[in-house]
Every structure is written in C-alpha cells, then in structure tokens.
C-alpha cells in the first residue's frame, strides 16, 4: 500500500495531542524549523504508526513533531518546530 494513501491530517492526531496539551492545538500555528512554512497543526500531514504519530510539513515534508506513547511514557519531540502560536480565545476543544 502506498504511504501517500495512508497519510492523514494533523487534525486526526487531536486526541493524542490532548493527552499532553490541556487545550486543543489543531488550530495553533506551527512554524517549520526546516523551511519556515507556517501552518495550523491540523493542516500538517499525519503519518500514524503503532505507537504514535509523526506530523510533517506540507511544504518541505520535514518532520515537525513526533508524539510517541511507549515504555510507559508519552514523549514529544518538537525539534522540527521553531514556534507554536495558539491564539487567545481559541476554543478549548
């Protein structure tokens, strides 16, 4: 099966992201550290795996963040993201 056919939107990761963040961040704007593209988390490309998710930049395909639940811990690797901006008054969920 083609990997391209498996990908989803960052919005599909909303439930797992809420395990870490107290507010919904799918509307928050992420800046890609690699190419500088700005996009809502919900508009990134999501590649799901058994243990977690990888969100990639729709412009350069670089990894923006990884979120993995394994070995009794939830791990976030945000190193592909230089900034995350969540507007005041954005809905909680």
């Amino acid at each position: 099966m083609q990997t391209e056919e498996m990908r989803l939107d960052g919005n599909a990761a909303a439930g797992m992201l809420r395990e870490l963040f107290v507010r919904d961040v799918t509307g928050a704007i992420a800046t890609c550290r690699l190419c500088g593209n700005v996009a809502p988390i919900g508009g990134l490309l999501e590649y799901g795996h058994q243990m977690g998710i990888v969100l990639r930049c729709p412009t350069c395909q670089g990894v923006v963040l990884r979120l993995v639940h394994a070995s009794g811990a939830l791990r976030l690797d945000p190193s592909g993201m230089s900034l995350l901006t969540l507007a005041d008054g954005a809905p909680v969920s």
């Binding site: 498996m6 939107d9 919005n11 599909a12 919904d24 988390i41 508009g43 909680v92 969920s93």
Partner: protein, 276 residues
Amino acid sequence: MAITIAAIRGVSSGIRATRDVSEARAVAAPARLEWRVAHVVSVRDETPHARTLVLDVPQWPGHRAGQHVDVRLVAEDGYQAQRSYSIASAPESPNVELTVERLDDGEVSPYLCDVLQPGDGLEVRGPIGGYFVWEIAHGGPLLLVAGGSGIVPLMAMLRHHAAAPREISARTAVRLLYSARTADDIIYANELGRLAEAREVDVQYTLTRTAPADWTGHRRRIDRPLLEHVAWPAAEGARAFVCGPTPLVEHVATLLVELGYDPLQVRTERFGPTGP
C-alpha cells in the same frame, strides 16, 4: 462580643470569596479529555455498508460541526484497538451520532456495524479536533466535497446549517458535491434530498462505478471540469471542506487551489486509503 461577630463575618466572607474564586477557576479550566462509557440508544442502517450509532454520552460537553471522537475497544486479553469517527449529528442534537462504514478487513468497524446493539456500552472520548470545524457564525458561502463516508462530518455541518434560524441560514449558501461508488452507497440520501428542497443547499452527486439507467447526476470521478461546474468561483471567497479517502481529498484540494481558492480556506480531512 461585637468584635467577635465582625471577625467571624470577616472570616466567613473571606472563605466565601475564596470559594468563589476557586469555582471560577474550575469553570475556566479546560476539562481533561477523558474516556467515557457511552450508551447505545439506537442503531440505524444507512446503506448496505454503513450504520449510524445513536449514543448518549454522559457529561457530553457539546461539540462543533466537523469534530470527531475516538472509540476504544478492549478485548478480554487486554488488546486495545482505537479509531477516530466523525460526529454526524448537529451540535443542536441531544445525542451524539456516529455513522460508521464497515470495512470488511477492519478491526473495529465490523464490531460497530454488526455486533453492537442498543443498550450496549461503548468507550469514547471527545469531542476532538478544532481544525476541521464550521460554525454558522463563520458564514458562507460554503463548499462541501465528500467522497464515500467522508460525508459524515459534512453532514454535521449541513444539519447545523439547517438548525439555524431561517434568516441566518438563508444568508449562508451551501453547495455539496458528493462522490459515491453507486446510488446505493449514498448515505443520508433522503435527508439530503429534503435539505436540497427546503434550504439554501445545492446537492450534486457523482457516481464512480455504476449508475441507474435514470440517473440524472454526474457519472465520473471528480475532475477539474466537474469542480469548476459545482464550486463557487474563487472570487466569492468560499470556505471549502473536503473529506474522504486520502487520494480524493488531495486531488480535490489541489484542484481547488488551482482554481484560485486560498489554501488556508481549504480544510481537509483525509480518511486514509479506503473508499470509492
């Protein structure tokens, strides 16, 4: 004596003030996303391959049109399977409705479509996902493009539109382009027909496999001429929501941007590889 009473009053009003503050914080603090056991109120077959589950979810905080829930099944040996399903019901509906397409090789959907019965419990958490959301206050025009069961979150938007006061919905024109394999695979066909008659909703279908002899809709996969025919001109500043199998969603989103749509106004919800 008087001093004592004053002191007690002072203390007690102080306690009250403290309690008021903590209550205010409790209201303002976001609720954790918790798993809850929903109660299956009823089930409804929509097509030979899709079924609607009507759920009563305790302490449901309300949702916005386009959001989804996570559903978790746990086997006796502890094995867990978790999937996301779009909410089909309007925010105005008292119950939460999910319409689930049965995937024959699926782990979760056959259970939801064939086994689950009214009275059963089902673990859900939600509502989830604020990105693929439309509210009547966002206004229109609105372009909805669905492939297969991708109609489900768009149906929540249409039902939300239909629940609005007439003078508001009349200002918010909606066009739906719905691609299905066959006429029998069209989910919500009767309700969509009523919406198209009664409201400012233009509904157009395209069938990708077989069509009845008297079929008056389109008969092909969505392509640029079809989208140009159905979609609002880019200058109208429409918001677009596209939902369905990943290849269809990406094709349609690309075409809309080619037609001049602002990429930030084209919201997508990819369902993965399955579909028409």
